[in-house]
Symmetry: C2
Subunit: 325 residues, 2 copies
């Protein structure tokens, strides 16, 4: 049973006849209705030492930042504005109060940068550092973006270059050596990924954006989830790969596109955009955020996913992370 | 540094100048305002294998139930109606998809019984079974009950007898032997504690209830938290102790009141009630729920806490659980 199959079984087990939850298990976040004109989104994401991060390669402050970033990113991917978070925090036997506060400083720094207030939490002993965060965001009903809205013909876009976090991870492990400048950029991308909070809200406000999700498990894995939810396929023509990731791929003798497709934890957003509106939207995006909204490919009615590599079409392999595969 | 001191340091670190959070770190749940006439409460609570429960003594289904019950109880203790939950779920290397679904069945059973919909979650590998749940509830602004509202002269009350969960735990560990009927009741109280969801909402709706919290770490520990928040003291005259807990205390040669005061995980609610209204409220409570609202003692202006035991006054020792002491 894969992780996605298990999630489907859980969704089945927890399904209710008359639900106030408009979007439940299976999207980046759940959507519910606290009052008529408001929608809240809620998401939860756990970071566990030696599963998601190692304190050999990052500080507790970095781990706290990353945990908060993952949640802020999920809220942003719904087109919502993150507002609140709670933290269920597990401290190993060796952990001191000073260690706990160090981790909280990282969470608070990312929360501040993302417009989130830490509203409460739970503190407990655990075998390893365990940071389970729940974030809540607000969104107008019309701005909610799901995974399921992609339409054939849409332009498939991402909000930034991919692969830097993975390159940073490989640098830290000593699996690859990069020149100082590139290594620093990659390591920073791994330790302090920036969730696309303002970008998500801005894209959410456009009716030309039909679907959105974040790219936390790698574009290849997450894109397949978006396409499955939309019952569509895609042709991937151009993967924007970060310079550090290109350099790492080159040194490892791996195709750079493949490296970019597989690398997770970049927290860029994937958006499916009306083809007629894309150029104008991308220009306004550039003006607003000083960054490129990269055209990656297009959505197809046919449910297969192909990558065009040097003129040849290859089926996309799901190469990202699966906790249960 | 104790757990409570660490929580205070975290509250300091995450404090904001202009906050939308009306009650933050330090109560059973945080309160925020999704729209003008609504308040939402949000709470998070993690259960970790071999810290909070052992699969030697309960099934995965029981562990799921208990994790959900702890969160439902925190929402109820604010006077709110639980509505939604998300689950960050950690699965050990030995855990199978069937094990995950078994645990989810327990969570869903308690969620159903508590009016909660499981709206989403996160699934990851972890060193041990880790269940971090966040629950959200709704409440009218006037019905929110905090820890800080207790007033000198108030009647201190609890919604049920204490100590059964601890007696069940001791039975399961083989530390005490009880007759079958009492052992069964105690073990059930330990494995499937019932959060006082309807009772919390009902007490929340009364303006004569000035403060409320749940009793998850033991009455002695939790009462001290309530009194500290209210800058008050208390005299405890009568602790309602469950029959199984009395029997266990007797066999262990411990004072039954002391056993009832120390035993956590009962999930009864502690309420501070206007003295003139108490008799009438308790009668209506009995009528409504078929249970006794027990008078435990009274709130005093003087900030010490004393237990009256066979006519003698003794200072209350904080005897419950502290993860960081």
């Amino acid at each position: 049973m894969t992780e996605d199959e298990l999630v489907t079984a859980i969704a089945e087990l927890t399904r209710r006849e008359h639900s106030r939850v408009q979007v439940g298990i299976g999207d980046d976040a759940a959507v519910w209705q606290p009052s008529r004109s408001n929608r809240s989104v809620i998401t939860t994401d756990a970071l566990i030492e030696n599963v998601h991060f190692s304190l050999e390669w990052m500080s507790r402050e970095d781990a706290g930042w990353r945990a908060m970033a993952a949640n802020a990113s999920d809220v942003a991917a719904m087109g919502a504005r993150p507002r609140l978070a709670t933290v269920a925090f597990g401290v190993p036997p060796s952990g001191t109060p000073a260690d706990v506060l160090e981790c909280y400083r990282g969470m608070e720094a990312c929360a501040c940068a993302s417009g989130i207030e830490i509203a409460g939490g739970d503190l407990t002993r655990a075998p390893v550092w365990t940071i389970a965060i729940t974030a809540i965001g607000e969104v107008r009903p019309s701005n909610v973006k799901l995974r399921s809205g992609a339409r054939p013909g849409d332009v498939l876009a991402v909000t930034g270059e991919l692969g830097a976090s993975r390159a940073g991870y490989l640098c830290l492990r000593g699996d690859v050596e990069l020149p100082d400048g590139e290594a620093d950029a990659a390591i920073r991308a791994h330790r302090r990924p920036v969730p696309r909070v303002a970008e998500g809200r801005w894209l959410g406000a456009s009716s030309n954006v039909h679907a959105m999700m974040d790219c936390s498990d790698g574009l290849s894995t997450d894109l397949i989830r978006l396409l499955r939810a939309s019952r569509a396929g895609a042709v991937i023509e151009d993967v924007p790969v970060a310079a550090s990731a290109r350099a790492a791929a080159h040194r490892l003798g791996i195709d750079a596109n493949r490296f970019g497709l597989a690398g997770g934890e970049d927290f860029e957003l994937i958006a499916s955009v009306s083809p007629r509106a894309f150029s104008h939207l991308a220009a306004r995006f550039k003006e607003r955020f000083g960054r490129t909204l990269h055209r990656v490919g297009r959505i197809e009615a046919d449910e297969r996913v192909v990558v065009v590599n040097e003129g040849r079409e290859e089926p996309l392999e799901r190469s990202g992370w699966d906790h249960f595969a």
